[in-house]
Subunit: 342 residues, 2 copies
DNA sequence: TTGTACGATGATAGCGCTGTCAATTACCCT
DNA sequence: AGGGTAATTGACAGCGCTATCATCGTACAA
């Protein structure tokens, strides 16, 4: 029927066009490419938009233009401070650029990540950002077929799906452990939650350092998600099995903080009796007492770069940057929680 | 043209239908209401879906059905541990229910929140969840006109936009301060970052307790976003101005942790020289040394309830629950960081 | 004056899916 | 056998918007 549809439905572009006495196309143009429309009509449309409190339906717009304005992000954790900063960086870049950021949580599980990838692709994002490089084969294939920019972050791989920006977790783990050996420690332990692939790589770096210094690896680990309290119990476990430990590399700053608290609780002096080094350089680490030695990873910068690369590809006509692998490196931050052995 | 469109475009429902030798509608039904289709056709469609690796276009689906499957969430911070748990709860409920959660960050600014509301409404979410109750008048109006369930969380208001689920921050602040007075402290200070409305209300509770005990309010505050390191500097500021302080109520656990570290740094014994109570009961607080007294707020539960109420409204035909204001309360957790005065 | 070029505007045809209702078939009853 | 009911399936018409191309003037060169 050609009757005006007077249902109490939402205001559409047609309503605006009718009110402004122009065609729908013109109204659409005023909103997207105002410079193509004469000042006269533009003013009419603008005021119609205001009067009707018109809100464009992004859904319809996306369907018609095949430009969804969505960026899919999959992170393994929402609570971890690392990903807080990471997501903040993505929002900081994408939201002003008119994109919306869709976030899904993989809970550090490959299976959940695969599912999250499928869910996300159903939203037809214009790009995807993933944490880590260990996607399942099936997820890899889906991502490649999607034909959109895909950025793998946080670690490095020789065989990126598309673009890879991160740092060598293994090397960083090595440097952290090495820091303790260099300070003269010979009984150096490690605590971690190696269900996280990056945690495992840091562990490898630690093992490499152990081998180099002919030291026995001393490990305590858990499959549970990483938390501050866990640092305390893992330290306890480690000290029970290897009482001679004088230096400990914690898989991340949360564990390190928990270990530090546990030391305080037991009257173990840090660093006199035990040196502690963490990983990530969370905000709290610098102001702990003693301040925590750690490895600083450029998580904000990493996400920002990932976002900007995507913006470039999307705006330019899909041309990839020359460099598909970007290693942002890391930094050893030696503070007060690590000291000379002896 | 009626030629098969052989562009390298994505697989559509039509492709599936053709391959399964059924109509598009039937293919659609197999995916949404399989019980309506005979086993025979269902099997054919299912295998076509698998063979073609078909991914439904949610955009088109949403446009056609006016069911977007989106939930809009606006939080003031992504990094704060409180909202980490809060968002996790929302994901835990909504994702299995087939909804996607869109998150926008207001950075604790009313203006940014108003803008976020507008952006979000352009996505046509089926419901909105907000933190706090102090939306701008304009944002309130937009939300009311949207005709969708709106849940305001974290605090209580007498005049909710739609549904309100939270707790009395003022009362909780009062109880925290009162805890210190009850332990015999007479010089009780408060540090906070009152750019956050809820922080201000806790402050009011503190002031009320001060009045009741005829104590002089002793405050240090900042307009910066709340962080652990900030707790240290605010404590320093407070102690400089009021050296006699023996008890301190921190606006949240991050500040409390920072204050605790600062005490350790200065050799101030907690709780012997200074009692500290925080707010929120973050995970770390229980395992700090000494463990932090605090107020536990049901942030996970609050978000979960909000999500479930929305699910009920959305599934039932839009009927609101009888109770539009739900006070989930809070709990004083007295640990080792607070002790008797003297 | 005529022809050309270009800028502004509109008509049309979908984007990929689902709501609706009509058509078809199978089944059962009298 | 005829008629009625229910279970399946399909045809059609949009959802609200934008890409595309046709159309209409108007300005300017020839």
């Amino acid at each position: 029927m050609t009757l005006p549809k007077n249902k109490s439905r939402r205001v559409t572009l047609d309503d605006v066009a009718i009110r402004a006495r122009v065609s729908a196309v013109t109204a659409s143009r005023v909103l997207r490419k105002p410079e193509m429309v004469s000042a006269d009509l533009r003013a009419r449309v603008d005021s119609a938009v205001r009067e009707l409190a018109y809100i464009p339906n992004q859904l319809a717009s996306a369907l018609a233009s095949t430009h969804t304005g969505r960026i899919g992000v999959i992170v393994p954790s929402l609570t971890n401070g690392v990903f807080g900063d990471y997501l903040r960086a993505l929002h900081d870049v994408f939201v002003p650029a008119g994109f919306q950021v869709l976030v899904l949580n993989s809970h550090y599980l490959a299976g959940r990540e695969e599912k999250a990838v499928a869910t996300m692709l159903g939203q037809f994002p214009e790009a995807m950002i993933l944490a880590g490089v260990d996607q399942t084969p099936h997820a890899r294939r889906s991502l490649q077929q999607a034909g959109i920019p895909v950025v793998q972050t946080m670690e490095m791989t020789d065989d990126p799906i598309d673009i890879n920006i991160g740092l060598s977790q293994r090397e960083a783990g090595y440097v952290a452990a090495r820091h303790l050996f260099d300070l003269g420690h010979r009984h150096v332990g490690q605590i971690s939650a190696p269900h996280d692939a990056r945690s495992r790589q840091r562990l490898e770096g630690y093992l490499q350092a152990c081998a180099e210094f002919h030291a026995t690896p001393m490990l305590a680990s858990t499959e549970e998600p990483c938390t501050v309290p866990l640092g305390g119990s893992l330290l306890t476990e480690l000290l029970t099995r290897w009482p001679k430990v004088t230096g400990i590399f914690c898989g991340n700053d949360n564990l390190a903080l928990g270990a530090l608290f546990e030391c305080q609780r037991r009257g173990i002096r840090v660093p006199q009796d035990l040196s502690i080094i963490g990983f990530n350089d969370l905000e709290d680490s610098a102001c702990a007492y003693p301040s925590l030695s750690t490895i600083a990873v450029p998580r904000y910068e990493m996400a920002r770069r990932a976002a900007e690369i995507i913006l470039e590809i999307t705006r330019g006509t899909g041309v990839r940057p020359k460099q598909r692998r970007i290693d942002l490196g890391f930094q050893l931050i030696a503070r007060d929680s690590t000291g000379k052995a002896g």
